[in-house]
């Protein structure tokens, strides 16, 4: 398994108009890693993801798989990176299956149509997320959580090396959040891919991500390595963002220990 950096940002700054949101962000996300972006509302998580995806302009350098992505066409960028936005802007009647198949657009030529294999991949993911029975229904008839799962399926269907996710858990219920993160790990780890995921649910980040980037006022204030760092050090760093919080160990029936964050 390789651990080369698939996403690198050097001195990245950006904002909206004259208002600067991010300043001098440096980060690396390696292959086979899921990295969480954590921080309070408005701290710059979405702006960071949008800047890395070239949706909003910024200064500094963004390297994808070691290459400067600034000169890449939208097509080449999308062949390497996929995005789960906070909320999809699709507002027309289109079948669930067609939404997932949109993910293949960067790999199709002008006259190309999705192949049988692509169709099978799309159906497999919808099945995995438990919404295969809705595949011919209009996207608009789904609940917000189901819509989010469809958009996640669209991002994962193409096997891109880099996956960006902006609060993918926001509309999902408790157990579906865990299923979604499990699926993400299966899709990323051991496959030389990586994911940068902005999350509000710290417990998801603690249990499914390898590193946590804590963002405060548009800067990465600290980094937590979930696998090697001790509990008190993690607690201290999380307190700088969330105030008086504690990390509690819990054990499941199989004896596996995990951490949950509680407000002290």
């Amino acid at each position: 398994m390789s651990n080369k950096a698939l996403i690198s940002a050097r001195d990245l700054s950006s904002g909206y108009g004259k208002k600067q949101i991010l300043s001098d962000v440096n980060l690396d996300v390696n292959a086979n890693e899921i990295v969480a972006l954590l921080g309070a509302n408005g701290c710059g998580k979405t702006t960071l993801i949008k800047t890395l995806c070239k949706i909003i302009p910024g200064s500094g350098e963004v390297l994808i798989k070691g290459e400067d992505a600034s000169s890449w066409s939208a097509r080449k960028f999308a062949q390497n990176c996929s995005l789960v936005p906070q909320k999809s802007g699709i507002s027309i009647d289109i079948t669930v299956l067609d939404v997932v198949l949109m993910g293949f657009n960067p790999f199709l030529y002008l006259l190309g149509r999705p192949t049988r294999n692509m169709l099978a991949e799309a159906e497999k993911l919808l099945d995995l997320f438990g919404i295969a029975d809705r595949k011919y229904d209009s996207f608009q008839t789904l609940s917000e959580g189901q819509k989010q799962l469809v958009i996640i399926a669209r991002a994962l269907v193409t096997d891109t090396s880099v996956v960006f996710m902006d609060e993918p858990e926001s509309s999902l219920d408790f157990s579906v959040r865990y299923d979604m993160m499990n699926t993400l790990r299966e899709q990323i780890v051991g496959k030389d891919k990586c994911a940068l995921v902005s999350l509000h649910d710290v417990n998801l980040a603690l249990n499914f991500c390898d590193k946590l980037l804590l963002i405060k006022d548009g800067k990465i204030s600290s980094v937590i390595d979930v696998h090697s760092e001790d509990r008190s050090s993690m607690e201290q760093k999380l307190q700088s963002i969330y105030g008086s919080v504690r990390l509690m160990p819990v054990m499941d029936e199989a004896g596996k220990e995990s951490l949950i964050m509680v407000k002290a």
Partner: protein, 309 residues
């Protein structure tokens, strides 16, 4: 659509029969070729183009009220036609001038919209409103200087829209432009659907958003400009046909886009048959596109609503 096309060949002031055509009656052949056939072709091709263009505008602008008027096509064509009527008089030049007016209006709309670098859809709609207002001002100014006895009446008649008196020399090129535009739009259907997402989302699906939007809108506009330059303004078809088709299929697949065209063609052909048969003199076709379209749309909405209950 085929039935309406055939029916429209036989409805009108000058009657003719299949026997007469087969017998080689010269007068009947002349009526068939010069009046009926060209008119029926324009009815089908024009209605199809307006339906598909309406679908494209509604999809790309993510606005169910979008129609060819929204980016100034219709008002640009009116101003262009009025200019042609005043300064050229020849009917072919009126057609060319209307086409030029429609096309210029869209170019201005997209140029204005390009000032806003964010590429938001709402900017294009606002730019369209501005160009529409400007074209209306030109139209009013041209009406003021028009001769009330002749030119003003011609301008008003053109604005009301009719398939009567279509210049047969302009049909070939305009129908060819419509066919080419329709083929391009069918090819670009996948891109048009992605344009219905958010800007960033579309970009992350590998789309060159500005380039694709420009290509799709310009192609739809060429089709609409080709229609209105021949027929004058045809209201309602571009708005109602996509709603009817989408209510029937409940999706936005490529077959829905084609169905939008078929509904538009049926609507315009049926309206034209009524326009030339209900009164002694021919009536503007737009009156009938609305008379047929509105109840049908209400019926579809009502039926759809019951289905949801």
């Amino acid at each position: 659509m085929c039935a309406l096309f055939l029916l429209s060949l036989f409805v009108g002031k000058y009657p003719f029969t299949i026997e007469g055509l087969l017998a080689g009656d010269e007068r009947q052949w002349l009526v068939f070729k010069m009046l009926r056939l060209s008119r029926s072709i324009v009815g089908v091709a024009g209605g199809f183009a307006l339906g598909v263009a309406g679908y494209i505008y509604q999809t790309v602008f993510r606005n169910s009220l979008a129609s060819p008027d929204i980016i100034g096509v219709a008002s640009g064509a009116s101003a262009g036609a009025a200019f042609g009527i005043l300064f050229f008089a020849e009917s072919l030049m009126v057609t060319v001038s209307a086409f030029g007016g429609a096309f210029l209006a869209v170019v201005f709309t997209l140029l204005l919209a390009s000032i806003d670098r964010s590429g938001r859809n709402s900017t294009v709609i606002l730019a369209g409103i501005a160009v529409h207002a400007f074209a209306q001002t030109i139209l009013m100014s041209l009406k003021l200087i028009a001769d009330p006895e002749k030119e003003l009446a011609s301008i008003e008649y053109w604005i009301m829209g009719s398939l009567n008196g279509i210049n047969s020399s302009s049909i070939g090129i305009n129908v060819a432009l419509i066919v080419i535009s329709m083929i391009i739009l069918i090819v670009l259907h996948r891109q048009a659907l992605i344009l219905a997402s958010d800007e960033g989302e579309a970009k992350m699906l590998g789309l060159n958003v500005n380039g694709s939007r420009l290509l799709v809108l310009m192609t739809a506009t060429v089709a609409v400009a080709s229609v209105v330059s021949m027929t004058g303004l045809i209201s309602f078809v571009g708005l109602v046909a996509p709603h009817v088709a989408k209510r029937l299929t409940r999706n936005n697949s490529i077959s829905t886009m084609v169905l939008c065209g078929i509904v538009g063609a049926c609507l315009l052909e049926a309206a034209d048959i009524l326009a030339r048969s209900v009164a002694a003199t021919e009536l503007p076709v737009s009156i009938f596109t609305s008379i047929i379209g509105v109840p049908f749309l209400v019926f579809i909405i009502f039926k759809g609503g019951k289905g949801h209950e």
